[in-house]
């Protein structure tokens, strides 16, 4: 059992009367990679911002393990905010000074691949270049906690792979705890060891990657299914209906002849989000 690096109690946050985070309790273990998924506006980014200390919660507490110095927490927000008028070189110098990094330790290998001019201004970077640039800044911090908010979506497949490899190296070398928010799972899909799904500022799903597939199944049939099966999402087509079942337990629907099919990670997340939107309409 590895030790908890972040402990969260009763975390709540509201904007203009709207609850963004609703009394969250959870823990994050040292060295684990966690994926947070959920519909748009579920509170994923706000949660990450609270962890990073950018937003202050209205209630509750976030306790960090005392052994982690502040400069070992790295965060990329979904806005990727940087000092726009700095040149790339100035940005690196600034980051190194703030986070106590020796300039020589700064790894330029990803930036070199992009062939970026160090004298151009940050505001002139494309979105993808900016993501890689900011990721390089964070890598230099040698973070113990890495908070990533949807950075891979803007990056081309080749650089994405390099970035992923850099991330793997980081996890192996420093036993970094990674908490990431993502919508596409193809590349990052095998990295997370735990998956959290958020809805209305709460966690509605919290399972390890190894066990999650055993907990959620799909039934494809032409008819309605029995009431005692917990369905989180129902997808109707003219030909058949898909029922997503959670939590599934062994022996459920015995004798009914239902075949419980496996669901992949994308399917799991989609069913929760689909279920959320279906509830919202009513």
């Amino acid at each position: 059992m590895s030790k908890d690096i972040i402990t969260i109690h009763g975390l709540s946050l509201a904007f203009g009367g709207k609850k963004i985070l609703d009394n969250l309790d959870t823990r994050f273990e040292k060295g684990k990679t966690v994926l947070i998924a959920g519909n748009n506006g579920a509170g994923k980014s706000s949660f990450l911002k609270c962890l990073a200390g950018v937003l202050f919660p209205d209630a509750g507490e976030i306790r960090l393990d005392a052994s982690v110095p502040r400069e070992k927490i790295a965060f990329i927000s979904d806005r990727m905010s940087l000092f726009e008028n700095f040149t790339l070189a100035q940005g690196i110098a600034f980051h190194c000074r703030v986070f106590n990094v020796k300039k020589d330790d700064f790894d330029r290998s990803l930036l070199c691949k992009l062939k970026l001019d160090m004298d151009q201004k940050i505001k002139d970077l494309s979105i993808g270049e900016r993501a890689v640039y900011q990721f390089s800044l964070l890598m230099a911090q040698k973070p113990e906690i890495l908070l990533l908010d949807e950075i891979i979506h803007n990056i081309d497949p080749y650089l994405r792979e390099l970035l992923l490899e850099a991330l793997i190296g980081l996890i192996d070398e420093l036993n970094t705890s990674v908490i990431m928010v993502n919508h596409t799972f193809s590349e990052m899909g095998r990295l997370p060891e735990r998956v959290l799904i958020m809805e209305n500022g709460r966690f509605v799903f919290d399972e390890t990657s190894d066990e999650m597939h055993a907990k959620i199944k799909k039934i494809v049939t032409e008819k309605e299914i029995a009431d005692d099966i917990p369905v989180i999402f129902e997808n109707r087509t003219p030909l058949y209906r898909e029922y997503y079942v959670y939590p599934y337990s062994e022996g459920m629907g015995a004798g009914s002849g239902y075949e419980f099919l496996d669901v992949d990670l994308t399917g799991i997340v989609k069913s929760f989000i689909g279920g959320y939107y279906a509830k919202k309409r009513i």
Binding site: I168, G169, I171, S186, R190, D210, H213
Partner: protein, 124 residues
């Protein structure tokens, strides 16, 4: 050279897929006794896996006695002949059970299956 076919979409946990791939390579003698396995980080980078996952695979393979970890020199294949034979048998038995289940669910009787097996075996 290790060959892997990891299916990220498969519901089988990735660590089990990797473990199976390695045990299969050992049983098929593609990995021989004393062969060096790639380091945890190298394999994690090649397969785009979490290093913790690869570490879990190696640890569990070591527990089961397929490989041996030596401080400073990584992991090496360790295989004993008797054990491999037992394992091969258990794998084929497992496959055969799955086949029988399928055949019974399709409505075949024991006699049908015996007949089918005899025919296939004599044809070969």
């Amino acid at each position: 050279m290790l060959k892997f076919n990891i299916d990220a979409a498969s519901p089988v946990p990735v660590y089990q897929q990797v473990k199976q791939a390695i045990t299969l390579d050992i049983m098929a003698n593609r990995l021989k006794d004393g062969d060096q396995l790639p380091s945890i980080r190298t394999l994690a980078r090649i397969l785009k896996l979490n290093p913790n996952t690869v570490a879990k695979v190696y640890y569990s393979l070591e527990q089961e006695g397929y490989i041996e970890g030596r401080r400073g020199s990584g992991y090496q294949v360790k295989c004993q002949k008797g054990k491999m034979d037992n394992l091969k048998l258990s794998i084929i038995e497992h496959e055969f059970k799955a086949f029988l289940e399928k055949a019974f669910s399709l409505g075949f009787t024991k006699e049908d299956i015996e007949k089918l097996m005899r025919r296939l075996l004599t044809n070969e």
